[in-house]
Each structure stands twice: as C-alpha cells, then as structure tokens.
Amino acid sequence: MNKQISSNQERYLNPYLGGVLLGLLVILTVYITGRGLGASGAVKSAVVTTSNIIAPYETQQNGYMGRFVTDNHSPMFNWLVFESLGVFLGGLLSGLLFGRVKKFRIDKGPKITNKKRLIFAVIGGILFGFGSQFGRGCTSGAALSGSATFALGGVIVMLAIFGSGYLFAYLFRKLWI
C-alpha cells in the first residue's frame, strides 16, 4: 500500500494535522506578537524599497508608497519581511526533508502549455497583488489571521476570496482540469 502512495502521490501531511498545527501556530503568533501572520506585506515592502532606490522623489510623493517610507530605516526592516524570509526557509526545510526540492519545474493542468501556465501565473499574481492592497492583506494575513481573531474584515476577505474563486473557476477550468 505504501508503495502505491509514494509512486502515485507525494507524501504530504494529513491535511487535518497540517490544519491543527497551523491553527496552533496562529495562536502562538498571536500569543507572542499580538498580531497574526502575513505574506503580501513583504512584497509590498520590496516594491517600496526598490522604487525608493530607483526614484526616491517619486516614491515619497506617491500617495500610497509614501506612507511606508521613513527616514529611520529601510522599508525592508519590517516584521513581515523577516517572517516571509522565514516562510521561504521553512518551505526549503520541509522540501529537503520530504525530498521535494528539485530543479525548476512547472505545475499545470494536463491541457495547457508551459508558456500559457506561466502567463496566467503572472496575471494571477498581478490580480492577487492588486487585490491584497484593497483587502489589507492576503489569505494568510487577512483571511486566516483575521478570521482567527474574529475580525470582521478577515471574515469578509475570506468569504470574498473563496466566493469569487468558485464563481470564476469555470472560466479558468482549462488551466487545471
């Protein structure tokens, strides 16, 4: 039986185990830092930083990025940036442990080409990045940590993400099935 699993399916944690541990991690994070986890904030910091290096004046004048520029330290000196660095390291650790770190490859549905998959990945990323700024966070920051702390905003974002996901899933079905 084990042979069948390993040949057919990667060895992942039981999803419920992952969920319970993730829930405990959220509690631990709130217990230590008083706030939740996050991810999109780190990309935002990266955007502000690079923009600030290339065009400092325009960045500080920008109504949005200007909020995150301070004289004291770089926008990269941010809790979420360090946390995201940890996410990357943690993913690497788990990948090494379960033997999933391999050379670059692409996950896609059986019916599309690699090129198409990458184009849609970029489009999806753009949309997600755009939306995460309106939603004040992404799935981990707003939906997961937000709902766990009973924040109204977190629940709204969670329902909106999954609701629209199901709503638009039909349009993108060729990508995945």
């Binding site: 829930g23 008083g34 999933r100 489009i123 995460s132």
Partner: protein, 200 residues
Amino acid sequence: MGPLIPNGIIPAGWDFVIAILLGIIFGFLLEASGFSSSRNLAGVFYGYNFVVLRVFFTAVIVAMTGLLYFDYLGWIDLSKIFILPTFLWPMIIGGVIMGIGFVAGGFCPGTSFTGIAIGKTDALFFTIGLYIGIYIFSLAFPLFEKFYTSGNLGNVTLTDVTGIPASWFAAAFTVIALAAFWGTMFIEKKVRKNIKEYKF
C-alpha cells in the same frame, strides 16, 4: 501574560528573530501540507483536491477556539491584540480580485514563497506578478484613493458588529467547517473517479 511583545515580557529587539522563527514554522507547515503545488491549491475550486479547504478551515477553527480558551485562562489578553481594520467595500472588491487571481495563478502570496523554495517556476512567476500588481496599485493609487478608505468601520470584531459573543461564532464556524469536511470527502471521491491521470 500574553501577548508577550506588546506587554513587554519579551523585549521588542527580539521581534525580528521571532519573526524568522515563526515564519520558518509557517513555511514548513504550508509546504508539508502540500501548499507548494498550484495543482493542489487550485483543486479546491474544481473539487478534485480539498486540501486548502481542510488545512485552512481546520487552522481557523482551532485558532478561534484556542484563542477563546487562552483568553479565558488568562494566558492571552484578546483586547490587546491587533484586530484587522474593516473597510467594507474595498475588502469585498479586493477579495473578489484576489479570488480571480487565485484561480488564474494557482497560488497565494505565502504559498508562492514556499513554491519557490522547492523550485516551482510558476510560483516564481506568480511572485513576480505580485510585485507588478502592487507596483501598479501604487502608481494608480490616486485614482481610487477615496475608494481605498471608504466604508471604514475601524478595528471591529464580529462581536462588535453583531453583539453576538465570539464563542457562538467559534462554535458556528466549527460546525460549518466539520460539515464541510465530511461533505467534501464525498465530492472529492466522486470527482476523482473522472480524473484518471492525476499528479500533484
């Protein structure tokens, strides 16, 4: 007792060390649960893999009930934790856009980082997309500056808005989630019969 850093039990200088450590656990759990694969993630919308739903909702209900117990036992002070501010319409629109991005890209920001870590090119492209998306948002910000802050309800919780105690929400979420777990189990079985070739 908690939260430790806002209460000054752990000095704020440890903030970043703790951030990396918590991030590592977070990344490890995401990857180990299979969130580094866009096929797994997108599967939730097509009924062939409900791993996202299972992990995500188990995490939410465990965290919800756990925080309530911790608050009761005096280990954590729920009044001192950060509550995400609510901006009604921007959040709904943002969520809808994120949902489309999720189906199209197959990742969300946190999972794409773990995807890069184990060598997924699509995760890398998704992250580049994220970067571009946020940059576009910043440039176009003056266009929707008013909308961005509209519907501001402040840092409100469900209890603040509805007046129903938080524990009722925790219980309701748990019942819904558990029902969803059992329900999706049957859906998944049915859908997978039709998909012959399935690789993660």
